[in-house]
Amino acid sequence: MEPGRGTTSEPLIQVRDLVAGYGQEVILEGVSFDVFEGEIFVVLGGSGCGKSTLLKHLVGLYPPLSGRILIDGEDISRRDPAALQKVLKRIGVLYQSSALLGSMTIAENVALPIAEYTDLDPTALGSLVRMKLNLVGLEGYENHLPSEISGGMKKRAGLARAMALNPKILFFDEPSSGLDPVTSAGIDNLIIHLNRSLGTSMVIVTHELQSIFAVAHRVIMLDKRTKGIIAEGDPKHLRDHSKDPAVRHFFNREPENHFSPV
């Protein structure tokens, strides 16, 4: 089985024996996996299995209860502020609700991190912001406020902002939630497109089957009961050959309890 591209190099993300949760509540335990350069890596699972928790730990929002998370060689599980700051400049996150700042226009939202971390003059900054928006297909919406554009456009704008500093890794939290199938397929295409042309690695948390088959090079599946990974590999292979019924149910979109019709 081909586990994505660029497997020969050092993994970009290394997670070892991660125990994740909030306070006393353990949501994931004993989770280990790698993400390689240039790979589209999908984390999937049913509702409440800890997908979003895993993502929040990967981007450094919460410290792990135990275990190690290495992103591009930096250990973020020790909460060393310098290491975390270094990592934060190399990653971008697209949140489920896009999380655009409501008081700023789309262009200002995208320009915010660029203006903070580079010393470009305003004209160059303007050109760069336009290129970012062209990249996600949002040309002409520079001066709109987030409340004036549709959900799909917000995702695109959020993506442009996440990519502002050309991160090595992009994290997506449910990129197609709340979008119609056409828009959602558009976001999938955009993900594939950016991965191919810029070589950015992507970590995507989702449970949209069609998106998974369209974009994923490799997936891990989390499960609520075992609090860990129950399957890893190519999604098409898992769908057809997995021995675990929970995995087959998920990929074939079947309910777990079969009710016989009366």
Partner: protein
């Protein structure tokens, strides 16, 4: 002039490339600039920005500009970035109406809409109160009781503390003057009368506006922008009855009682100063207070604070329901709820004073 570029042009090195180019390129007399991209293995938008800067420099010197020998991957990126059409200057100014008249009209319209909504909201409050007087079981009793606790019981410590200190300060300041006439005992009259009639209701209302008025506006504003208010409406609930009325009823019940506690705490503050600094006896101070105060004074303050409670909840719920857009509008709603209620409290209190002067 032909420039051969090679290697990766990306976010990490674009600033360095620009600096180098700026140093080595002649400042004038170029008639044409050709960029040979054959050696460029990787290009991102920061790299494209370097190309754009060169293009604009060429345009400034009226030189021809062209890109040649770009690899497929590189030219694909340039196409996606719409490199050819990037020359036109982008303006990132926020949209605003072009002249003062349009802006004035816009503001007038907005205020008109605001007034419209205020009238309809007030109407719906009265309608719902009327409805509830005939169907009392439809009142959300649990919400009302919870709200009474948050507005009343939870505010008691701070109201008592501030009023106690107010009474203390008032007694202390007035004693300096009254001592000269040997009229120490009138400190008790001054503190009790001023607190029950004026300062007790006003201080309590100000604290309630700051504590609960702001909370009401922020809660309703957040519910409004996250479509929870819309959800209530489509479930068949009246948002005013569901959200505003419990708060209104709770505040009208608890704020007058808070005022009574405030009066009491202030009298205790005065008593402390009287006994420790003015050689008054506690019995003397208390009997002077009882002799000064009439039941009317206490009821007057009690009634006034009920009116203040109505004003605070009414304006806070109104501002909350008006929030729209994003987080900033919730902040605005909260600010204007507190500011408007403070203004209304003082205004109403002046009106009450005038009424009392001619009527009482």
């Amino acid at each position: 002039m032909v420039l051969h570029l090679a290697g990766r042009m990306e976010a990490g090195n674009s600033a360095a490339i620009l600096k180098t180019l700026d140093r080595i390129l002649p400042k004038s007399s170029i008639t044409s600039l050709v960029l040979d991209l054959e050696g460029v293995s990787y290009l991102d938008d920061f790299g494209a920005l370097v190309l754009l800067e060169l293009k604009q420099m060429a345009a400034k010197q009226q030189a021809d500009f062209s890109l040649v020998n770009a690899k497929d991957s590189v030219s694909r990126i340039l196409t996606i970035l719409k490199f050819e059409s990037l020359d036109e200057k982008a303006s990132f100014a926020k949209k605003r109406p072009p002249n003062a008249f349009l802006r004035l009209g816009d503001a007038a319209l907005r205020h008109w809409m605001e007034l419209n909504f205020l009238v309809s909201f007030t109407g719906s409050v009265f309608l719902q109160l009327f409805y509830l007087s005939r169907h009392p079981k439809k009142l959300r009793l649990e919400d009302t009781i919870l709200c009474m606790q948050r507005t009343g019981v939870d505010a008691l410590p701070i109201v008592a503390l501030i009023s106690f200190l107010m009474g203390l300060i008032m007694a202390f300041m007035s004693s300096v003057q009254l001592q000269q006439f040997g009229a120490n005992i009138y400190v008790a009259s001054l503190v009790s009368l001023a607190m029950t009639r004026e300062l007790g209701p006003i201080m309590t209302a100000i604290i309630v506006a700051g504590r609960s008025g702001s909370a009401f506006a922020a809660e309703l504003g957040t519910m409004k922008i996250s479509e929870e208010v819309d959800a209530l409406f489509t479930m068949g609930f009246d948002p005013t009855r569901f959200l505003a009325i419990p708060k209104l009823i709770a505040a009208v019940i608890v704020v007058p009682f808070l005022t009574l506690f405030s009066d009491l705490a202030a009298i205790l503050g005065g008593l402390l100063v009287g006994v420790t600094m003015l050689d008054l006896t506690a019995t003397g101070y208390i009997s002077q207070t009882i002799w000064t105060l009439t039941l009317f004074d206490v009821f007057w303050g009690f009634g006034k604070s009920a009116v203040f409670a109505v004003l605070i909840t009414w304006i806070a719920c109104f501002r909350g329901f008006r929030a729209r857009g994003g987080a900033a509008s919730v902040g605005e709603a909260t600010t204007s709820a507190v500011v408007s209620s403070l203004f209304l409290i003082i205004l109403t209190d002046s009106i009450f004073s005038v009424i009392l002067r001619y009527w009482g």
